[in-house]
Symmetry: C2
Subunit: 204 residues, 2 copies
DNA sequence: GAATGATGAATCGCTATTCATTCTCCTTCG
DNA sequence: CGAAGGAGAATGAATAGCGATTCATCATTC
């Protein structure tokens, strides 16, 4: 059993336990039990309980962010880029429900470190959206009176709220493709420049 | 000093302390200090720490919900109703920042009682939106292919994300009116039925 | 037989909750 | 009118339990 294995095992276990109980109610001994490791072992790999949470953010959420980024970068049409963002964001969270729960719960905590996390790595992720909107505006696809900073939040917030539905409701009422499509559709219709020939051409 | 005064004082204090530190990190003695009351006194009015949080939800958030509901009910035009919802929701949260922080943080906790709260009182609030959308569809103002259940979440999620911005950022980059207007505009443009004469008439 | 990794029982600090005591403010009666 | 008394409210020091963290000890590997 290599060192690297235990580090990973503990993080995976922590994702499960934090998702189930929330950071504060989760006990180190819970994580240790799920990871099949002694309580003390955890302190060989992490400085303290909060450090485990930060590692979850860095590694697991970081992985999520990279996957979406990578896909977006392959596209050039801003409309398609937003559709892909919606679809991929939702489907990755759906696949990894525990992680989705942690994002919902812990990334909202009023904590200095978490706040910092939100303004660095995570907001870099959300900034993908405003960047795409600016591209669309430059191409005369999207209306110029839309503020990218507000629109990005509107779009991300809409997706985030759908993610919340899945976490709170035991049975999902809508499937991912349908949800992602509806949200991109509402949003795209809302920002597309109807006076523009480009918008028709690109079939946005 | 009447009994009713202390109950209120403790709740007001709890709103501040929970907002600042979060439920788990808030100490009863902190709340007591802010309320200018002895630690023990709190237990004359509340069963336990969690009971204080539930009371905050019931009383303070309930008050917020009622205010928005009341305003909406005065309107008949679905487009205006959505605009008013956006504006009032944001401005009430802005006025009561501590409460907004609690909503952001604690209403996301993975807790059975809070989950129940979300599926009763709070979702009744969000359901105002889907109700308005259905009205609009019945009047041929809004497109029929929009699913009210998804659209309500898209709209609410967008507003909620803007509220989050204000909480995390020390200095707000956008004012309320502008934000509410942009979000309603994007959303209304996204759901309005362009083929319909009604939509023009009503100047949506 | 070191050196490194792992263990888990014991420690230690923290804070929700309790409860014996004190305070406040009426009511009653001499 | 003022003193006595007592009911309910308020106090805050003491308790009690929890759980993060430590560390003396054990296991494994070379």
């Amino acid at each position: 059993m290599k060192t690297i294995d235990k580090h990973e095992k503990i993080i995976k276990a922590a994702v499960k336990v934090f998702a189930k109980k929330g950071f504060f109610s989760a006990r180190i001994s819970d994580i240790a039990k799920v990871a099949k490791v002694a309580d003390g072992t955890i302190y060989l790999y992490f400085n303290n309980k909060f450090d485990i949470l930060l590692s979850v953010f860095d590694i697991e959420i970081g992985r999520l962010i990279n996957q979406v980024k990578e896909l977006i970068e392959k596209e050039t049409n801003p409309c398609r880029m937003l559709e892909i963002f919606a679809l991929k964001h939702l489907s990755l969270l759906k696949e990894n429900r525990s992680l989705a729960e942690i994002i919902q719960m812990e990334l909202r905590q009023n904590n200095k470190l978490i706040k910092e996390y939100r303004v660095t790595k995570f907001s870099e992720y959300v900034d993908i959206i405003s960047h795409v909107i600016r591209q669309g505006q430059a191409l005369n696809l999207f209306r110029k009176d839309i503020q990218p900073g507000i629109a990005k939040r509107a779009f991300f917030g809409a997706l985030d709220e759908m993610a919340r539905l899945w976490i709170l409701a035991p049975k999902p009422a809508y499937n991912i493709e349908e949800t992602a499509m509806q949200i991109s559709k509402i949003f795209l219709c809302g920002i597309i420049d109807k006076g523009s020939a480009q918008a028709d051409e690109k079939r946005c």
